[in-house]
Symmetry: C2
């Protein structure tokens, strides 16, 4: 049974296991520093489809296929999927996983979605409501640019604060059967709005939410940054990371020695012209599956904190003059 800890955390007394993870990425991600670590690098980011949105769905479809193959289980053994993406009404997810005919909980937390998916999946399994579930997300550079900023054809210059939405999908199987890692706790974030109104600077929108949920995590679990081998944020990028360090230092926490940001790791900013780093739901999800879980599997890291960060951006609210609030969710993962 879960145990409420502090104000907004849960400590799992019978931690659910991470049984397997799989990552599928596009060509640009495959050329990045982590390229060799992903399960599948697709050479065509259109996946042979007519639209970017259809391509994104195929990334989800392939990630599910891959994680089932790696775990050697059938889709019938998966009781629920917790999934979402960045597109309006989650169409990446709808058309991506429809064929699997698995009961779905659609979720949205912008780029924090993988944190939300893992949290809810862990709660579901620990409570005895499922043997195995999938937690997953996707994003796609071109579908996200069309959704949130400018169609690619417009050819707008990107400022240095802009991040590059990762094309890909990451899927994890959470279950009762022993895996190589376990989810031992979660801290669920609140919406935090610092009034940032720059849709080309997502890092600045998300950093306050990451700082808020991290402080809550340290307080709720009565732990410190040094208790973790890695504290892994989602896609703050170079700009957001600096703001996070500053905000945390004001609260007396220094995570600089153990911090890693999936967005910073994903691309070689100078060689790949990606500016502030990678972003998108798939950024945290594919780095988790491609890199982080492997470190846990070989026990290079024993205990990590995974904090996907989301910017609650929408063109409608943004064009109506609203700011871009952020949200982030912490997931504590330990190797077995």
């Amino acid at each position: 049974m879960g145990k409420m800890i502090g104000k907004q955390s849960i400590s799992f007394e019978n931690p659910p296991y991470i049984m397997e993870g799989a990552s599928v990425v596009g060509p640009k991600e495959g050329e990045g520093p982590l390229g060799k670590l992903f399960d599948v690098v697709e050479q065509d980011s259109m996946m042979g489809q007519d639209s970017w949105e259809q391509a994104e769905s195929l990334f989800q479809k392939e990630a599910v296929q891959k994680v089932l193959l790696k775990a050697k289980i059938n889709k019938e053994e998966i009781r629920y999927i917790f999934a979402g993406d960045l597109l309006g009404q989650l169409i990446g997810t709808t058309f991506g996983i429809m064929e699997y005919e698995i009961p779905l909980f659609g979720i949205y937390g912008a780029c924090s979605t993988m944190g939300e998916a893992l949290s809810l999946a862990a709660i579901m399994v620990e409570a005895g409501n499922a043997e195995k579930v999938i937690a997953m997300t996707s994003s796609h550079f071109a579908s996200a640019e069309r959704q949130f900023r400018f169609p690619l054809e417009y050819g707008k210059q990107r400022p240095y604060s802009a991040t590059w939405t990762v094309t890909g999908s990451g899927a994890v199987i959470i279950g009762k059967e022993k895996g190589f890692a376990k989810i031992t706790g979660i801290t669920t974030g609140k919406i935090v709005d610092y009034g940032v109104k720059d849709a080309q600077n997502m890092g600045a929108c998300m950093a306050p939410a990451a700082a808020e949920v991290l402080c809550s995590h340290f307080q709720d679990f009565q732990c410190f940054p040094s208790d973790y081998d890695k504290i892994i944020t989602g896609d703050l990028g170079l700009v957001g990371k600096t703001i996070l360090f500053e905000l945390l230092s004001q609260k007396g926490y220094d995570i600089s020695k153990v911090h890693m940001d999936c967005g910073v790791e994903m691309f070689d900013a100078s060689a790949q012209d990606t500016h502030a780093g990678g972003s998108g739901c798939a950024c945290a999800a594919t780095v988790l599956c491609g890199y982080v879980l492997k470190q846990l599997k070989k026990k290079a890291w024993k205990r990590i904190l995974f904090i996907p960060t989301g910017a609650l951006l929408s063109t409608i609210s943004f064009n109506e003059g609203n700011a871009v609030p952020g949200i982030a969710h912490c997931v504590r993962i330990e190797c077995c």
Copy 2:
């Protein structure tokens, strides 16, 4: 602890309670047949705001305020909110509940969202992870028309199969403390696509998903329509209801004697020019809070099945030639 039942259901051994519910609606809903039953009827559907989206957020804000007042509890006692709406990136929710500073699980299931919210809230409370949580949704006629169809200024004629999106918000507090009703089980739906491509006929898109999840529910719980005092679908409307009856009769189930559709109840179709009925996330949510829960409170109904139904419509996927798949989630509620 929850107990897995059949293929896609959970039976709660220690059912979480519905402690309170609150409904806030717009003027048109207030003039409908259920008008007197809602807690608040706002006379201005703009809520004094500059945009429809901002107005929708205020409906959410007010619903939370109202349910807390009715339950006589402070916002600090609410550990989590499960909330969502129809707008891209859930901006109705983001700007509606931000000020409450309550950890959020953002969810999306189109108009089935209240079913998903209640399901996850019930799992959370039953597993001992929270004392009290809120499950809620909102929708707004004008923000939904802009999001999914045509801006109101365009003045497009609406076909008779079209439904009218309900303006309002419904919020429920689920908790461990005894309330007047309890959630005894859930059946979580899959995405079902019958290839319907008419964005003005949501009932036809959703009915197959409702039929699928209802059949699964009857099989998983080994029960029959006659075991319920009411089987309440979300917003199938007059067209979708007919299709649902037909699909269920092919499987040997007749729910006609106990069926009620929130969309059909919400408006007086001939007097209010609403065509096939009400729809939107708020349709099922406000009818649940305004009407259904009151029937349970006075024990007029002892056991009901609540099935909000969602059409996974998005203008992007729709304009790219995709169909509109549906999803629906069953929640079994019994009076105490």
